[in-house]
Structures are given as structure tokens and as C-alpha cells.
């Protein structure tokens, strides 16, 4: 961990991509295809880390005979009007070509008699989800990595990027990182950079335990804008074990029930009932708990044999799910299809991202954003994540490649580089200090309870913010690292503190409710008059968060709310 740069590993390329999931790998493929040199860096093993590897594999696709407007309308409605409709259209316009690309890479999608097999995406009327044949998203990203390597992308695994590097002219000129397994300093010098690191979070439930936001927030620190800081993805999960995918049980015949044995979803959504979107199920469960009706469980007794089989085929037939279900049955003594177990809402991820346009260009010269690191809407529809990360990865790779073709490598501002490295390494210096894991636990204690980000109100948000600001003043300056691993954790904890402050303040700004994506009990109606807006956050000259809002440009869009 030297600061003398002569000891550093310096890698030069035209395009640098940070993150090895769908967004990053598609960026790498596309940029390499255009003839530029590409380096892709991942904090773990690109293609096997992050969220992409663990996704189910469904991908929304607009087939040649489908109507683009119908798709755009459904996704817009699912985001309750707060989505960039032009971006949604772009995601679908390229989707069939990317499907064909995947097939040409050796990953066929399910067909029956020459036609693609599809399922209707939950929460939409017309959007089709296509499924890889005998495969999950893990197989998809594994293949994308192989194709990237075949196209001469230099893949650098196990290097954690902690800051962007600026050129002497102020544009982004690369990134600086540290080896996770071998603690070497890395300077990744490039003409353009794609940030594809996912959004952020607070080390939430199960696989979301990796989400902490270094990517978008290092762009924020360098001068980029953050969009959608007030939105989150909160799921509902078994209370005792880390089990994915079983939340679809009520969508196929099971029913939510409270401690009194009441099937309560009829009260909250008389039409969709137990098939309501996850966000509504989360709020309903929270309200039941606040009324004293916890524990909440899924009643599987009324499921038919056919419904149980459907669940087995969809969720328990591939990848790691069979092992997980078998261990619950054998060692914990319950079967998710036989026993009614307790569930609780569980924080997963925030939905903020680095503001970027339809070409994935950010406000920072030389910086592009792909995947969940850029805003891709708020509603986490099944199949949307892979489709939108694929589109933005491809587009960002194209843009970053084109940008790099016209210019030479920018001269590095070594003074700024030395400063950011010193800041990163500083927590190694003090003799004593706070363990970053402990600080993260304190953040989770503030943000994960039902009355912080699930059932929101001015007083609850202010209460949470006061606690966060107290930690910021008392503990944040005194985090202590003992090795590279804890040094990274300190950086992540600092990021989560900033993210928590930003999200709580932004949530107080939005004084309305959009029932499927944002629930405030003190402003419990949609306010289209005042809140057809996006919230942005940028770093002020004084280091404080500066918020702004912009009207959603409905004059450019095909669909507008009627009132």
C-alpha cells in the first residue's frame, strides 16, 4: 500500500469498465467490438459476483410483432409516471437484437414449435418475459465473460475501486483501486470510464448484503448528479432463513395471513388481493404488524397440487435453489410448500443512480453509467432488471468506445490522485477507533425498521435523520481499519452514511404517496399537481448535499397522466 506511484500497478486502456455484471459485461463486449482496447475491473470475480449472477434469468423482450407503445405504457404505469419514457422505449427497441446476440453466443431461449415461450411480466398487461433454455442468469453472465475474454477484454478480478481519477483538464481519466486478495495499488488509466457497479443499499437482506453504493457515490464525489435518491426496493422475506424466490407463492395460490388467521390482503387490494405487487404487500404487512397482528405468514394450505408443481418448476428446479429448499426441509424441519412460516419486510436496495442520458452519458466528461448504477426506473418488475441492464450496458459501451476513439489518454492529475489515496488509507493510521461493521449495524438499526423507509412520515423520517446525523458527527470520523478488508469496509460505511442522509432528506421532500413505489402516511395521496417531478442531488462546494427537482418532460412523451 505505497503512495509512491512507482510501486503501483498501472494499466492503460481506451475504455475502463467498473463492474462485471450485465451492465459491465455488455459494455465491455460492445466497446471491444468497436475496436478499442477495454479493461474491465471487478471487486470479486467478474461474471460471478454482484446481483446479475443470482438473477432468475427472465428478460423482457419486445418480439418483432409486439407493440412498443404497449410495452412503454405498462412500464410507465408500473412506475406510476415517474420514469423516463424515452429510456423505456430504448430498452425495448434493442431487446430482440440482444436476445439474438445471446443465442449467437450459445445461449438459446425456450421455444415451442418455433415460437418463443414467454410469460406475461407480473404487474404488466402486455410485456413478455423470455426465459433461457435450461439456464439462469448465472449461465448468461458466465457466457458474457467468455465472449468478453475472446474479444480481448482485459478482465481484472479482485480489485476494489475506491475513487475516480481526474485528468489535468478535469475530465474523468480512470480509477484508482486496491487488490482485495493481494494488497497492491492499482491505477487504471483510460480515455473513458463506464461505471456499472449496481446502485447502493445498506448491506440488506441475503444477496443484497453486498449493496453499499461505492460506485454511484464516487461519481457523486467527482461531481456527477444522483437521481431518484428517495426510492428503494423493499422486499418481503422469510424471517428465519435466507431464502430467495419464494415470494411468488401468493401469486400462484397461497395467501398472506396474520396472527389472527385473517387473510388480510383483500382489505388492502380488493382487486388483486394476494397477487398485488410486492411493494403493496410490504406496506400491508407493515400495517398489520403495527396493528399488533404480527407474525405474518404465507398460508400454503389452500394451494392445489398443480400450483405447488408450478412453484417447484419455477423456483426449485435449478441453480442453488434445490439445495436451499432441501436444507430447510431436512435440517430446519419445514417445507415451504407444506408449512406456514413467518415472513417480514426486508430492505434490499436503493433505486438511486448516476444521472445519465439516453446514450448513458453523465454530466462528468468521460464518465458513462450502465446497469443499476444509472437510474432505470423504480419498479423492480421481474425481467426488467436484466433487460434494462443489458440495454444500458450495450449503449454505454458504444458511447464510451466512440468517445475514446477521438482522443488521447488524458494526463493524470497526480496531486489529486495522491490526495484521494491518502484519504482512503487514513483509517489505517489511528491506534483506536470504531469497527466499520459496527457502524453499518447502527445504520441498519435506524433504516430497516418498518417505521423508517416503509411507512414514512415527516416525523419518522426526521427522527431517523437525527440519529444518522448524530452518528455522522460522533462516529464517522473515528472509523478504524486494520487491513485492506476493513479499509474497504470503512469506505463502504462512509458511503452508506452519505446515502442514508441523502435518502432521508429526499424522502422528506416528496410530500405525496405513490402506492406501489412510495408510501407516506402523512401525505397519503398521489399529488400529480406538485410531484410529477424527479429529485436530484449533487455535491455543493461546501461538501453538503444540494437537492433540486425537475419537472418530468411529458411534452416529449407518448403517455401522460389524465389528472
Amino acid at each position: 500500500m505505497h503512495q509512491d506511484h512507482s510501486h503501483w500497478e498501472i494499466l492503460k486502456s481506451d475504455v475502463l469498465i467498473i463492474g462485471g455484471g450485465f451492465g459491465g459485461l455488455w459494455s465491455a463486449l460492445r466497446a471491444a467490438e468497436s475496436g478499442v482496447s477495454v479493461t474491465l475491473v471487478d471487486k470479486s470475480f467478474a461474471g460471478k459476483s454482484g446481483h446479475s449472477y443470482f438473477a432468475g434469468g427472465a428478460m423482457m423482450v419486445l418480439l418483432p410483432d409486439d407493440d412498443l407503445d404497449e410495452y412503454v405504457y405498462d412500464i410507465t404505469l408500473g412506475n406510476e409516471w415517474l420514469v423516463d419514457q424515452e429510456m423505456v422505449a430504448e430498452v425495448f427497441k434493442g431487446s430482440y437484437d440482444r436476445l439474438k446476440d445471446l443465442e449467437s453466443f450459445g445461449l438459446p431461449f425456450r421455444k415451442n414449435g418455433g415460437s418463443y415461450v414467454w410469460t406475461k411480466a407480473r404487474g404488466t398487461r402486455n410485456v413478455k418475459n423470455l426465459w433461457p433454455e435450461h439456464a439462469t442468469a448465472a449461465d448468461e453472465v458466465t457466457i458474457l465473460r467468455k465472449v468478453a475474454l475472446a474479444r480481448d477484454v482485459k478482465v481484472v478480478d479482485h480489485v476494489y475501486i475506491y475513487d475516480l481519477v481526474k485528468g489535468a483538464d478535469g475530465g474523468v481519466a480512470g480509477a484508482v483501486g486496491i487488490g482485495v486478495k493481494d494488497p497492491k495499488n492499482f491505477l487504471l488509466h483510460a480515455k473513458s470510464v463506464v461505471i456499472a457497479t449496481n446502485s447502493g443499499g445498506y448491506r440488506g437482506h441475503h444477496l443484497a448484503c453486498e449493496l453499499q453504493g461505492t460506485g454511484p457515490f464516487m461519481a457523486y464525489d467527482a461531481g456527477a448528479r444522483i437521481k431518484n435518491p428517495e426510492f428503494h426496493y423493499i422486499n418481503i422475506r422469510p424471517a428465519k432463513h435466507e431464502i430467495e424466490g419464494s415470494g411468488i407463492l401468493p401469486a400462484i395460490g397461497a395467501r398472506w395471513t396474520n396472527a389472527k388467521g385473517v387473510h388480510y390482503m383483500e382489505t388492502y387490494d380488493p382487486v388483486l388481493k394476494d397477487r398485488a405487487p410486492v411493494s403493496k404487500i410490504v406496506v400491508a404487512a407493515a400495517k398489520e404488524a403495527m396493528k399488533g397482528n404480527a407474525p405474518i405468514s404465507i398460508d400454503v394450505e389452500g394451494m392445489t397440487a398443480e400450483e405447488r408443481e408450478k412453484f417447484r418448476v419455477l423456483q426449485v428446479s435449478h441453480g442453488w435453489m434445490p439445495i436451499l429448499f432441501e436444507k430447510c426441509r431436512r435440517e430446519e424441519g419445514y417445507d415451504l410448500l407444506q408449512d406456514n412460516i413467518e415472513w417480514q419486510p426486508a430492505y434490499e436496495a436503493n433505486k438511486l443512480g448516476v444521472d445519465a442520458d439516453l446514450n448513458c452519458v453523465t454530466a462528468l466528461d468521460g464518465l458513462f453509467a450502465a446497469g443499476m448504477a444509472r437510474p432505470l426506473g423504480i419498479n423492480p418488475f421481474t425481467g426488467w432488471s436484466i433487460a434494462s441492464c443489458t440495454w444500458s450496458g450495450y449503449r454505454a459501451g458504444e458511447s464510451a468506445g466512440e468517445y475514446a476513439k477521438g482522443i488521447a489518454l488524458k494526463a493524470i492529475d497526480f496531486d489529486a490522485l495522491t490526495e484521494s489515496t491518502e484519504i482512503f488509507l487514513k483509517p489505517l493510521t489511528p491506534e483506536e477507533g470504531m469497527d466499520p461493521d459496527k457502524l453499518v449495524h447502527e445504520i441498519q438499526k435506524i433504516l430497516f425498521p418498518v417505521d423508517a423507509l416503509i411507512i414514512m412520515s415527516e416525523s419518522k423520517l426526521q427522527n431517523a435523520l437525527d440519529k444518522i446525523l448524530a452518528i455522522k458527527a460522533e462516529n464517522l470520523p473515528h472509523l478504524k481499519a486494520t487491513d485492506v478488508r476493513t479499509l474497504i469496509k470503512v469506505k463502504e460505511a462512509q458511503t452508506m452514511m452519505l446515502s442514508a442522509e441523502m435518502t432521508l432528506k429526499a424522502s422528506m421532500m416528496r410530500k405525496e404517496t405513490r402506492e406501489n413505489i412510495f408510501y407516506r402516511e402523512d401525505y397519503n395521496r398521489v399529488d400529480n399537481e406538485n410531484w410529477l417531478k424527479w429529485i436530484y442531488a449533487a455535491k455543493g462546494d461546501d461538501g453538503e448535499i444540494r437537492f433540486s427537482t425537475e419537472d418530468i418532460p411529458f411534452e416529449k412523451y407518448p403517455f401522460k397522466p389524465e389528472n
Binding site: 444477496l207 448484503c209 436444507k327 426486508a346
Partner: protein, 69 residues
């Protein structure tokens, strides 16, 4: 969370160490996989699935973390 690695069975192929997204596993002096940072395990089962000799055991225990209520 990862529960155990059977060192007698481990053949030292390093696959689990390489693919673990949480960098939970290290190789010991005898090139056998060892659980070093169990608290950082994602419970993703990647290591258990990838192990060619089935030496790794992951359990769906919930990590201790604050709950909704």
C-alpha cells in the same frame, strides 16, 4: 451462512476461493480451503455448488441483522 469445509476432502483446487463473491474463503498453509470471514458470507451457495468434491457446506441461517419489527 457458510458452515464448514471438510479439509480432508478438499483437493486445494482454489475454485471456491476464486469465485466467492464475499471473499470469505482463503487457502491455508497446506493449500486447503479455510473459512476466514464467515460473517461476510452472502449465503449464495456458489462455493458449495462449485466444489468438485462436495467439501463445502452452506446453511440458510439468517445473518444477524436488524429486522422490520
Amino acid at each position: 451462512m457458510i458452515r464448514s469445509i471438510d479439509k480432508k476432502a478438499c483437493i486445494g483446487c482454489k475454485i471456491c476461493e476464486m469465485i466467492c463473491p464475499g471473499d470469505v474463503i482463503v487457502m491455508d498453509a497446506e493449500c486447503k480451503a479455510e473459512i476466514k470471514y464467515a460473517q461476510d458470507c452472502w449465503t449464495c451457495f456458489s462455493c458449495e455448488l462449485a466444489c468438485p468434491v462436495k467439501a463445502v457446506d452452506v446453511h440458510p441461517f439468517r445473518k444477524p441483522r436488524p429486522m422490520a419489527w
